[in-house]
Every structure is written in structure tokens, then in C-alpha cells.
Symmetry: C2
């Protein structure tokens, strides 16, 4: 099967057509198309057009609201709260970001809670956005439960990623975005599709026994990275993303999820920090130059790279070279667009 | 060799005598004695009186200031900055905490940066303190460099722990405090002392080869937990704890450290969040009851426990039963007290 070549703007146009045809307003479709194209731009295919069928299915079956608009509330001097009103997270995040940035600059630190949202994107694009505004950013999101607590067998936590971003003077921001599970859910599914065993340590079967069979692990539970340490982070993220705001934990959203391919309901939590309020004499340039010295030290050794380096490398190429998607996905997308 | 039995108040009295004899003011010695006794109370021996020789050595050799007082600055509506003036962190943290708590309650979220400090204690006691005031707490601290970046060989990051605390209505706070390295530095040293090999995955030699010889790993580098994911956290903590404030990264403080047993200079970063500003209708009791349902779900499975459960179990016993220390440590402490 050959791949189909697209430019980023062609990909964006397909995304807009498919999402609006599924029932999203153009206003809500645009931030979703933007994040999918940020992923394709950065060669992060698993969050690119690969996600479009799921985005469309969640809305077209009526489980997720496509037209509702988020409500942004100034909840406290350091707190933005955005109610996504059962819609996708991307429009809600876009709606709340300006107030989060303004508050972080005024207070030195601020936070944003997104409630009643469906998150299906990367987090690095959000922390990079904050860092491009000169802010240090954190992002946390929960998903429906897939990950066991150490010693347990049942899916208890979402794959719950966290992201962190740090501004850099002459390069794209430093940003990492990592799941609390060893492997992404999608990687397990790709192994199943391709008939390949999964590495040891990714998952356990419903009986709690370690397995390398992706079907057994998908029916059982994923494992957290770094054993109890990753599990502690998964629990922390569950508490921040939904515990603070009374949203649905992964174990609760899993009950309502119809597995149509779109994400379950959940929440996100963001923190933004203004380095200007911490830097001696407010000299942000000096502290950023200092942090570059740490990155230089890392990169002096052969075989090392910084988080995000691969994505940033791709970012140089794809605006000119475009990107490719599998023919089967292209056919699906044409179908979603009614072509 | 037999153990010596002490009550918590006897231990505290020894700590105060030894610390003040080494050159700490009573005012600065008290918060340090308090955190060492919190550790003994919670059966966390590696942060109890075990640390007293290091605390004393750092001051008695003149490297760390024993008498200086921390300066607390209201740096922004959401930012407390405390200059430890080259003293230990514990007095600086104690001095800044009331303002951090006040700001978090007023703003919804606030942060505290401790600069020019020497940290040698647990972090869970700080996040538990915040949680006992009804706040969600984060704490981050860097150390001198011991941990390699993935693909590299050189010690690059500190063992850089982070801690997180969450209030609970009828129990001690949920709190975890975990290093970014697989193993604590002290555990490596204890294996060396006892002539035991270390487990695979803890460290590499100066040549980058995996090793189970603690002497080789101590001369080489420790490994982060969860490979690149733990390393990303170690880097994040380095940036938060000292990058924001222009302090010394682990690679910089390692250069000045005379390895007298006390900690190198570094920094800490705290975040406190007030759930009242996030809970629907400000009903904190409801969101805490909801989070208890997650903890109950975890504990329904045999063989699971929550972060901190072991410490909290010990906390019931030691105020009555006291605790024990090895005879050799007792002899050292008597020496430090001039007995």
C-alpha cells in the first residue's frame, strides 16, 4: 500500500471539511484542525490526521457537542476556568489561553482548569504556545482508565500525560509531553493491527499476569512507566485534571464511553509561570542564557538529544516538503469529507 | 551491633544539641531537628538522625552558614521568594510558608522559590504541611549532579525529587516524594558499605557500561527512572528549582562541593493551589469526598497501597514506641554533642 502525499494546507482543508461535515461548527473545527496539522508538521503522526476519524465519530454519533461554545470564567486572580460544555478541548483551550497568559504575567503564576471537555490532542502544542509567550508551562490531562495501580490488576488511571515547556531565546521552546503509561494506547493498538507482540512491561492481562500479546493487554491493563513512580504521577494528574473541579475520573468516564473512537469526557489543568517575576533583577535573558548552558552541556555528549528535537527538526522540513498518510487513512478521510 | 532506642523527644534534643554545637543558631537548628524527627516518626530513617553528621559537617567546616537568617520577599501577587543566604533550606522554607499559604488562598495558586539554599531533607513534609492547610502542594528540589542524560555518560542532573500533596478529610494527606533517579544516592552508598551489588538499571560506570558494582556506579552516574521520561522530569526540576532564579545547576554546584557530607548549594520551587477556587460552588468537601472514592477504588484491590501509607502507619506507633538507630550512629551523635 502506498502513501499519499499532502501539503500542510491541503491537510488542513481536509480536516476542516471532514470535521464540519461531522457536525462541528467551523469555529470549533479550526482549533482542532490546527492541532492535527501541528502534529503532522512535527512528524507526530499519531496525533495528526490519524485522529480525524475519532474526532468525527465522537460528534456524529451525538456523544460530543460540535456546535456549543466554551464559557471562560475569571474564577480568581490566579485561576481561569473554562467549561467546554461537553465539546472538544481544543476550542476551550484556545478560548482560555489569553486570560491564562494575562494572569500569569500579572501574578507571576496562574492556572487554568478546563472542565467537561473531550481531549484528543497533544499537550506539547499548548506548553509551546505558553513558552512562545515567554512563560514556563505545565499541562495535565486525564483519559478513561487504562492503567493499573501497582499491585492491582484493574484499569484505574488514564494514560494521563503531562507536558512541560520552557522558553528558549533562539530555538523553538523546550517541550516534553509524556504519558504516565509505558506505552501510548495507540502503540498497543498498532501492534495488534500489525500482528506483533508488545515488549515486556507494557501491560498485563485481566488475570494480572505480564503479557506480550497486545489483545490480552488491551483487555487487561497498561502499566505505568517507572512502576510506582509513574503510577503516582498518573494519580496526581487524575486529581489535578478532574479531582479539583469535580469532573469524571478515568474509572467514571470509562463507564459512559461507547468506544466510538473519540475520547471520553475528562478535564485538563494548566499552570503558567512568568520567569520575569523570578529572575534576579527581572533579567529573563540572563536566566534563559543560563538554561541554554545546561542544554549545551547535555548536547556536548554524543548520542544525546533534547525533548522535542525530533519534532523541531521535522518542523523545518514539512512546510516545504509536506507529509504523507497511508492510503487507507486517505480513503477514510475522503469518505468523511463526502468525496 | 545492637540498636539504640530513643523517644522522639530524646532524638529532637540530641539533634538540637549537635546542630547548635556545630555552629547553627537555635532558631535555625529547630526546623532542621523538626524535619529529622518527622522522618524518624514516619520510619523514614534515611532522612532522620542518619543525616545529622552531614548537617553538622556542612556548617562546622564553614561551607554552609549556620547563623544567617533567610530573607522573605513578596515578589509578585503569586510569588514568594526566599533567600536562604547560603544557609540550610529548612529555616528558609519555614520562613516563607505562611506567605505562600496566604497568597495561594488569595490568588487560587501561588509559588515560592527558595534561592541560595542547601536542602538535605524530605519534601513530603512540606507538601503535607500545605495539604494540612487545605492546599494542594508541589515541591521540587535539585541536588548536585549524579544522574546521566539518556544516551550520555556524565552526571548531568541531580537526583532531583518532586513531591505532591493532596488534602484528605479524615486521614493524613496523600503525599508522594520521589527522586528522578531509579535509586536514592544513599541506597547506593548503603550497598557499597554492606558489600552488596546494586540491582541492574541503577547506574553506569564512567565508561557508560551498565554495572552492578556500587563503587563503579558511584564513580560513574546514576540512571533516571523510566529512562527518558524520568530524565525529562529531572531536567524540568533543574529548570524550576534553580533555572528560574539563576541559581546553580547540579553540574555547577558539583564543582564547588567539597563532599563533606552536607548538601551542595541549590534551590527549591513550590506551588500551592487552593481547591476552593476550583471546586464547583466552592464546595471543597464534595471534591475531597470524590477524590476519596478514587483512593477507595485503588484500595479495593488486594496488594495495593497509597503513597505515604507506610509512613502514616509508622506515625501511629513511634510517638508511643519511639524508634531505634544503629549503635554506630548513636556513638557519632554523642560525639557531635560533645558527650
Amino acid at each position: 500500500m502506498s502513501d499519499v502525499h499532502l501539503t500542510l494546507s491541503e491537510g488542513h482543508a481536509f480536516a476542516m471539511r471532514g470535521l464540519t461535515r461531522a457536525g462541528l461548527s467551523a469555529e470549533n473545527a479550526k482549533p482542532i484542525a490546527d492541532v492535527m496539522m501541528s502534529a503532522e508538521r512535527d512528524a507526530c503522526q499519531s496525533h495528526g490526521l490519524f485522529r480525524m476519524p475519532g474526532f468525527c465519530a465522537g460528534v456524529s454519533c451525538g456523544r460530543i457537542e460540535g456546535v456549543t461554545r466554551p464559557d471562560v470564567k475569571d474564577a480568581a486572580p490566579g485561576v481561569v476556568q473554562v467549561d467546554a460544555n461537553n465539546g472538544y478541548a481544543a476550542p476551550a483551550i484556545e478560548a482560555g489561553m489569553p486570560m491564562l497568559i494575562e494572569k500569569a504575567r500579572a501574578q507571576g503564576i496562574a492556572s487554568m482548569a478546563i472542565i467537561r471537555s473531550h481531549h484528543f490532542s497533544t499537550l506539547w502544542c499548548d506548553v509551546e504556545h505558553l513558552a512562545e509567550h515567554g512563560l514556563v508551562g505545565f499541562a495535565f490531562v486525564n483519559s478513561r482508565s487504562f492503567v493499573a495501580h501497582p499491585g492491582g490488576v484493574r484499569p484505574t488511571y488514564g494514560t494521563n500525560p503531562m507536558a512541560f515547556g520552557w522558553p528558549r531565546p533562539d530555538s523553538p521552546p523546550l517541550a516534553f509531553d509524556q504519558a504516565s503509561s509505558v506505552a501510548a494506547r495507540g502503540e498497543m493498538q498498532i501492534h495488534l493491527r500489525d500482528g506483533k507482540p508488545i515488549p515486556e512491561g507494557w501491560g498485563i492481562g485481566p488475570d494480572g499476569a505480564p503479557t506480550t500479546d497486545p489483545a490480552v493487554a488491551l483487555a487487561g491493563a497498561q502499566l505505568p512507566f517507572g512502576d510506582y513512580k509513574g503510577a503516582a504521577l498518573a494519580m496526581m494528574i487524575e486529581l489535578l485534571a478532574v479531582g479539583l473541579t469535580g469532573g469524571k475520573f478515568g474509572i467514571e468516564s470509562a463507564v459512559d464511553d461507547n468506544s466510538d473512537g473519540g475520547p471520553a469526557i475528562g478535564g485538563q489543568f494548566y499552570i503558567a509561570v512568568d520567569p520575569e517575576k523570578f529572575a534576579p533583577g527581572g533579567d529573563v535573558a540572563a536566566i534563559l542564557a543560563h538554561s541554554e548552558s545546561l542544554f549545551d552541556y547535555v548536547l556536548e555528549e554524543d548520542g544525546t538529544r533534547l525533548p522535542g528535537d525530533r519534532r523541531h527538526g521535522a518542523r523545518e522540513r514539512t512546510p516545504v516538503d509536506g507529509f504523507t498518510i497511508p492510503e487507507s487513512l486517505y480513503a477514510t478521510i475522503l469518505g468523511l469529507c463526502g468525496d
